[in-house]
């Protein structure tokens, strides 16, 4: 694994495509968890409304 491989992204040592793939999992997870949290909040607000 040569240190000067132009494909490697600093500082992780992943290639650009690998880094993008890891990033896509992060994005996917954030989206799913965000949607779940939103839905859960709506349902809780329906059951036991807060702020009036």
């Amino acid at each position: 694994m040569p240190d000067n491989d132009p494909d490697k992204v600093w500082p992780t040592g992943l290639t650009l495509r690998e880094a993008e793939e890891v990033h896509s999992y992060l994005i996917d997870g954030t989206r799913v968890f965000g949607a779940i949290a939103l839905l859960a909040h709506i349902l809780v607000a329906v059951t036991t409304p807060w702020l009036g």
Binding site: Y25, A40, T47
Partner: protein, 486 residues
């Protein structure tokens, strides 16, 4: 000037493998501790099944006062995804990833779906039951969100189990597959038994708050255990990752899979046998209580007797298959044991013999264990290694769908017979048990030609020498009850 960049790269390169969730060095020998850790995903699958079929089934009807028919519909929703197991398995077989992984992305997504479903579920159930202010909420909100929660859990469950089993089979050589099948199945049963006890203990005194804590706790446990299970399990394959060949479409892969002699016949055997064994799962307890006059405690233990029989069957099958026995012969013996077992269960009504009933239930469980292990091992052994996920998915899809349909059909047949025959209380049950025995006889009849096609020594040699199957270790195994989606 000091080269920070190369210094940092070198440092990272040295420590990174420690912290990366992939097994960069895949050793041919996979220690048992690693397989046990991997099998934790089966524990979470078992936990989810118990929560859906056992705990929530009761809580929704008794504590939340949701109509029983609505509960039945909600609980059967996860079954919708069972046929997609084959598709998920195929997609993981051919997944393109720059990281060179193919099973982990699907297990990650499946875990997220399962977590998301459990995270929303308690609130959805409270809205569904009209708790507190939700009494004024529109009906569609409760129905829709509860359905969504069950769908998410079901989709996640099938995804995690199918791809997790495929990963397990990737890890071991063919000779060890029966062992892995047994191990994974035992871990799922362990997860089911343990979580049933824990849920029962936690929900002794039901409060809405406790329900939220239990279900969301299950969500967190799912993510944590699946995370531990997946850590450093999958070897990275950069060559596969950088391949630019087009992914074979599912249709073509399925055609190739189904074109092998005996492949479709084997799936038919799985469907018939699983339906035969699974039809009475929910009828055994009411049968014991209503017809044989057993107490609630006794009928609850009946489930343990059935599971214990299955466990014994699986253990025996593991040992014998490990010595190189023919898996289809094993499956045939299992179905053969099931026929007299169900006839004896039906006959128990005439004599009113509880002892005969319990013994026959044990035998039925034992037969189901042999049959399940035998068909799964046969499916995996005859599938090409690069189609391990598809083969596991097909087995699971057929099994789970057949078990679910059989379960529903068993209830419907019982109810229809109940209405037609006012006089004899036992007849509706014995009708179902008779149909089970008949299905098992059909499965037996279907096994014979399949076995001739697949395991005839001369023909098998011709297959492995000639077409399709590459040399070297072939498939695989993993396990889970085909009833997983029921």
């Amino acid at each position: 000037m000091f080269d920070y960049r190369s210094f940092a790269l070198r440092r990272v390169a040295r420590i990174a493998p420690h912290y990366l969730p992939f097994a960069d060095v895949a050793s041919p020998e996979v220690p048992l501790s690693r397989l046990l850790r991997l099998s934790l995903f089966q524990v979470t699958v078992g936990m989810a099944l118990v929560l859906l079929v056992g705990t929530l089934n009761r809580v929704m009807i008794v504590e939340l006062r949701v109509p029983a028919s609505l509960v039945a519909v909600m609980l059967s929703l996860p079954l919708v995804f069972a046929p997609f197991r084959a598709l998920i398995g195929h997609r993981s077989d051919t997944h393109r990833s720059a990281l060179g992984i193919r099973r982990l992305p699907y297990i990650f997504r499946g875990t997220m779906l399962q977590f998301g479903g459990f995270a929303v579920m308690p609130f959805a159930l409270l809205v569904l039951s009209g708790f507190a202010e939700a009494a004024d909420a529109p009906k569609w909100l409760g129905h829709g969100s509860a359905a969504l929660a069950f769908l998410l859990v079901g989709a996640g469950l099938h995804m995690v189990q199918t791809v997790g089993l495929a990963l397990a089979t990737d890890l071991v050589p063919e000779a060890d597959q029966p062992k892995v099948v047994g191990l994974m199945y035992v871990m799922m049963l362990t997860g089911m038994i343990a979580s049933a006890l824990v849920f029962g203990w936690l929900l002794q005194v039901y409060t809405p708050q406790r329900l939220i804590q239990v279900i969301q706790g299950a969500a967190v446990v799912t993510v944590v255990l699946n995370g531990i299970a997946m850590w450093k399990q999958e070897a990275r394959d950069r060559q596969r990752g950088s391949s630019t060949a087009p992914r074979p479409p599912f249709r073509a892969a399925w055609a190739a899979f189904a074109a092998r002699p005996g492949a479709v016949g084997l799936l038919a055997v799985v469907g018939l046998g699983t339906a035969g064994f699974g039809m009475a799962d929910v009828l055994l307890e009411p049968y014991g209580g209503q017809i044989l006059g057993m107490t609630v405690g006794e009928t609850t233990r009946l489930t343990a007797v059935l599971a214990g029989g299955s466990l014994a069957g699986f253990t025996l099958a593991s040992i014998v298959l490990n010595r190189g026995a023919d898996p289809l012969r094993m499956a045939g013996l299992g179905a053969l044991a099931g026929v007299p077992a169900f006839l004896a269960i039906a006959a128990a009504a005439a004599g009113g013999s509880v002892a005969l009933f319990v013994a026959a239930t044990l035998l039925a469980g034992f037969g189901a264990g042999l049959f399940g292990h035998g068909t799964l091992t046969a499916t995996m052994r005859t599938a090409p290694r690069e189609q391990a996920g598809l083969a596991l998915g097909a087995w699971g899809a057929v099994g789970a769908t057949a078990a679910g349909i059989a379960l529903a059909a068993g209830g419907v047949i019982r109810d229809i017979a109940l209405r037609l025959e006012g006089g004899d209380a036992a007849l509706p049950y014995t009708t179902v048990f008779g149909i089970e025995a008949l299905l098992l006889v059909l499965a037996l009849a279907a096994i014979l030609p399949v076995r001739r096609k697949l395991f005839d020594p001369a023909r098998r040699r011709a297959i492995s020498a000639g077409q399709a199957l590459p040399p070297g270790p072939r498939p695989v195994a993993g396990a889970g009850a085909p009833a997983a989606g029921a």
